[in-house]
């Protein structure tokens, strides 16, 4: 059996591990445009911050490919999938046959049309190791940096480079930061925290045009800068799948087994749409844990095993300048709120289930909440009142599966 994996990040690696759990023998070829050993993309901000290095940010050890008997073709780009011949073609003209294929092509930074962008000398995106190294090479202690985008990528970039530049301004069209994971109150708390570290925000505004090292905003304001980082969002890389005739909406459409509309082709990670069980809607959930779990599920299934990716939810754990957020699920429902200045908590329930939460500050044991969402635990089967303030296993009955994992009888 010949397995071909396009992609070398969390979903691709998850697929290798899923296949090897199920079939220790089949041939695995892994193809990646990036020339690097598998590394963790979300760690690039920590790299520039000096909190990790290229050796430590490897996602798996040096012997990963040989241990798993993977033929890794790094620095090679797949240009075409031929479903009738069951082959992929590379940019070097090589034609590689597959019995089962995984598409884990991820996403690319989105660069919106912006007038005068060509006139900007030093402009960067912030997604890959190479993009981080390129940005790093431009950093100087007296540099003024403009980041367009106050989302996860833009603000992690800000954190990573803040101590290495003189001035840092973030512009976003939205009226608050991190709108994809926080509510209004949470955004305000985090914005204040980040501002305390010397990051300036200009919100509800956007760049009208660039003129060399000046950005003119729609409000009439101008920002002078030396370095521009564009972090307005990402777009799933679906072209290969679409050209091969697979069903693609915004992302590649996958079922609960992570199969595409072709039963021999699976897809996982940022390039796919999958089911968010908190809303019942299919959407792109471009998050590393989900990518790994989709990839692993696909790997088990394409090697002939049985696995389901049926607990997908949006979830994020992220910190900025030492202040942490964990969030999960959907925020539409009845709210329980707690705030004491340093900490903020919102739990959202609907139809007798925990549907979502935002916790900032003291994030300890938040996974107990996450598991209530993922397992759809009816709240009337636990002591939910007890754990609204402090998550703990005492809320579960002594004969529950959770408690029985800890306890023995004399």
């Amino acid at each position: 059996m010949k397995y071909v994996i396009i992609g070398n990040s969390a979903a691709g690696i998850g697929c290798v591990e899923g296949i090897r759990k199920t079939n220790p023998k089949g041939e695995i070829t892994l193809i990646s445009s990036e020339p690097h050993h598998t590394y963790s993309r979300p760690l690039i901000s920590y790299l520039l911050w000096g909190r990790t290095d290229e050796e430590r940010m490897k996602y798996r050890g040096d012997s990963f490919y040989s241990d798993n008997n993977v033929d890794a073709r790094l620095g090679v780009t797949v240009t075409k999938i031929d479903r009738s011949a069951k082959t992929v073609t590379t940019d070097g003209g090589e034609v590689i046959p597959y019995d089962r294929l995984l598409i884990a092509t991820g996403s690319n930074p989105f660069i919106p049309p912006m007038a005068g962008l060509d006139s900007v000398e030093k402009k960067f995106t912030f997604m890959t190791l190479d993009s981080a190294r390129a940005l790093e090479a431009a950093l100087t202690p007296d540099a003024r940096v403009l980041i367009v985008g106050a989302g996860l990528i833009g603000l992690k970039c800000a954190e990573g480079i803040r101590e290495r530049v003189a001035k840092l301004t973030v512009v976003d069209l939205a009226d608050r930061i991190l709108p994809s994971i926080l509510d209004k109150a949470g955004s305000e708390i985090m914005q204040k925290h980040i501002e305390g570290f010397g990051v300036d925000f200009i919100l509800s505004d956007s760049v009208k045009e660039f003129e060399g090292s000046t950005a003119r905003l729609n409000s009439g304001k101008t920002v002078d800068f030396d370095i521009l980082v564009i972090a307005v969002g990402v777009r799933p890389c679906t072209a290969l799948a679409a050209e091969a005739g697979l069903e693609v909406n915004r992302g590649i459409v996958t079922d609960v087994r992570c199969a595409t509309s072709d039963p021999d082709i699976y897809a996982a990670g940022d390039c796919t749409e999958s089911l968010d069980i908190t809303t019942g809607q299919k959407k792109i959930m471009a998050l590393l844990p989900n990518a790994y779990m989709q990839g692993e599920c696909a790997g088990i299934n394409l090697a002939g095993g049985e696995a389901a990716y049926d607990k997908g939810i949006p979830m994020n754990a992220i910190g900025f300048f030492g202040y942490h957020i964990v969030s999960a699920g959907a925020y539409d429902g009845e709210e329980y709120l707690e705030t004491d200045g340093a900490n903020y908590k919102k739990l959202v329930t609907r139809d007798g289930l925990l549907k979502g939460f935002i916790i900032m500050g003291d994030v300890r044991r938040a996974g107990i909440y996450t598991s209530l969402i993922r397992e759809k635990t009816p709240l009337d089967t636990i002591d939910f009142e007890l754990i609204k303030h402090r998550p703990q296993l005492m809320a579960f009955a002594s004969n529950s599966e959770k408690r029985k994992k800890f306890t023995v009888k004399a």
């Binding site: 969390a10 998850g14 963790s40 979300p42 760690l43 920590y46 909190r51 990790t52 430590r56 940010m57 490897k58 996602y59 798996r60 590393l288 844990p289 790994y292 779990m293 692993e296 979830m315 994020n316 754990a317 992220i318 910190g319 030492g322 942490h324 964990v326 999960a328 994030v363 300890r364 044991r365 938040a366 996974g367 107990i368 996450t370 598991s371 993922r374 397992e375 998550p391 703990q392 296993l393 005492m394 002594s398 959770k402 408690r403 994992k405 800890f406 306890t407 023995v408 009888k409 004399a410």
Partner: protein, 144 residues
């Protein structure tokens, strides 16, 4: 594999396991300097209810969601089945804290990495310290 379990009927809720855990992982040989005036951050935590109490630490799940979710590749399952953390790779994003269904992984003292129970295999102890020092033998280390 052998894991740490607690007998709810015998657990007194004395929290000694927490102190011995913090001491064993402090890197210090003197209990006073390790614990006196220190807000301990143990890897085992006692939960207390009205009628019952018990201690909670990592279950070393066979299908560990923390390992799958780790964005840095810092968590892994070793050949014995124990879930271990490479604190040099960990950047302290706390995704594992977000996903552990038992709340058994926690931020480390400096906030730059997580910590979890590694069965006292990395701190020079001969056996799990919480088990060895439980005054009531309520905490056991056994194959089940």
């Amino acid at each position: 594999m052998k894991k740490i379990y607690v007998n709810e009927e015998w657990c007194l809720g004395c929290h000694l396991c927490e102190y011995y855990c913090a001491f064993a992982n402090s890197g210090k040989s003197n209990m006073v300097s390790a614990l006196k005036d220190v807000k301990i951050n143990p890897r085992i935590q006692v939960e207390e209810g009205r009628d019952v109490c018990f201690a909670v630490n990592c279950r070393h799940c066979p299908d560990p969601i923390c390992v799958k979710s780790c964005i840095a590749g810092a968590l892994s399952k070793n050949p014995d089945g124990m879930i271990e953390v490479d604190t040099g790779k960990c950047v302290g994003c706390f995704t594992c804290v977000l996903v552990c269904p038992f709340g058994a992984i926690m931020p480390g003292d400096d906030g730059h990495a997580i910590q979890k129970c590694e069965l006292c295999t990395k701190n020079g102890s001969e056996a799990p310290s919480c088990v060895a020092h439980c005054p009531n033998n309520a905490i056991v280390y056994e194959e089940r």
